[in-house]
Structures are given as C-alpha cells and as structure tokens.
Subunit: 132 residues, 2 copies
C-alpha cells in the first residue's frame, strides 16, 4: 500500500511517517517510481509508535520500546523499568501542573473580576505575594 493508505490505517499523518523514517524508526521499500510501499507489518509498527506516543513516550523511548519488541530474548523487566521511568516523568509533570493550577485557582478567587483595575493576580505576579 502507498503512504496515504498506511497513514489512514495507522492513524499517523503521512508527513509523520516520513519523519519517523528519517529518524530510522520505520523502514520502507520503494516501488520503481520511488513511492514508498508498506505492508501489514509496517502498519503494525506505525500503530505501535502511535500508541506509544499516545502514552506520552518520547521518540527515543519509542525507539527503545521497538527494539525490545523486536528482540525475542528480551526480559519483560526491561520493558517494565522503562515504563516505570516514564511513569515517574508523568507524575512529575502532573505534580508541576497541579501546583500551577492550585496557585492560579487561589489567585483567581481573590481577583474581583469586575471593572476595577485592582487585581490580586497582577499584584502577585508583580510582587510575588502568591499566598495571602
């Protein structure tokens, strides 16, 4: 199949498939006219990448996951460790975003939100009085 069909089948934009190939995450055969040609295995690989990205793995992590997937002698402990590390990264991001959110909720609650110029949000940004 051609790239567009593979794109539809995998959920990755054609542009992204070419980009992933340039990074060595995907290979392709070429037809006589230079067009990329894909089979079921290729689409499965694309879906693997799409799902990994959906879980927030970086492309380098995706590369490691694909390497493990391709290696029949892998230990599931390796995959597990990679996933746990990513879980830690997710936790840290969630923690940071939640801290931002809480501070902002507090500020918004103390800003009258009317026609007056007085605003706890700007005061806090200007003078660092995030709390009280």
């Amino acid at each position: 199949m051609l790239i567009k069909e593979a794109a539809v089948a995998s959920g990755l934009p054609a542009k992204t498939i070419r980009y992933y190939e340039s990074l060595g995450l995907i290979q392709s055969r070429r037809a006589g006219n230079g067009y990329r040609q894909y089979g079921t295995r290729d689409v499965e690989r694309m879906q693997f990448l799409a799902r990994s990205r959906t879980l927030g793995f970086s492309l380098e992590e995706c590369r490691s996951l694909l390497d493990l997937y391709d290696d029949p002698t892998r230990a599931s402990a390796s995959v597990n460790a990679l996933a746990r590390e990513h879980l830690d990264e997710l936790d840290e991001k969630i923690r940071q975003l939640t801290a931002m959110k809480q501070t902002l909720i507090d500020l918004v609650s103390r800003c009258p939100g009317n026609q007056s110029p007085d605003c706890a949000i700007l005061d806090s940004l200007a003078h660092g009085q995030a709390k009280q």
Copy 2:
C-alpha cells in the same frame, strides 16, 4: 546594573533576558559601550515574567498580562478571564497526563517484570489491548 546582575536579581538567565528583549517583552537602555543597563523597574518586569512563566503562561499570554499590568485603566475582569482560560488549559493537560498515567499503571501491573519476554505493555502497544 548589567545583565548578569539583573539575571541574578530576577532569576532569569542572561540569555533568556536577551531572548525576551528580542521578542519585545523587555526593553533596555544601552551604555556607551553597548552594554545593556537595567534599573529596578526592569528587574521587576523580569520577575513578573519569571513568575508568569512559573504559572505556565505562554510568552504571548505573558505579553498580554504585562500589557494589562501597564494599563491603569484595565478591568480586573480581563485579567481574570485570561487566568481562567489558562486554568482550562492546565486542566486539559492534567487530564491527558492522568489518562496516560492510569493506562500505564494498569499495563505495568500486568507486566511480570521478570526474565521472561512476555509483557503486557508490549502486547498492548503492538495490538491495542490497553484494557484486559
């Protein structure tokens, strides 16, 4: 004061101060030798930006916040609306990351994490069986 002192005082790296100036978020006077010279007001502006960034506002949102800060005829409702929009963005990001986290927790719990190659994480990435 010179850029390094302003950097220490504001918490922004000197490089970032120059970058913000290139975007028009900060202005600077120049001494005869071409060196940037900053005063207390400039450092306060940098701190304003640093705090806004800490809360996750984009640089364009920071620009709007600074514009409002500079405008004595502003309505706090404008600031409030900007903050609430950002709060929505934060909520959405947290929601996505939490969804990733939950899926990953589930997968990790079903991966033995031993020397065997069988792994629920890879199975799920390969065949989409995220649940069960």
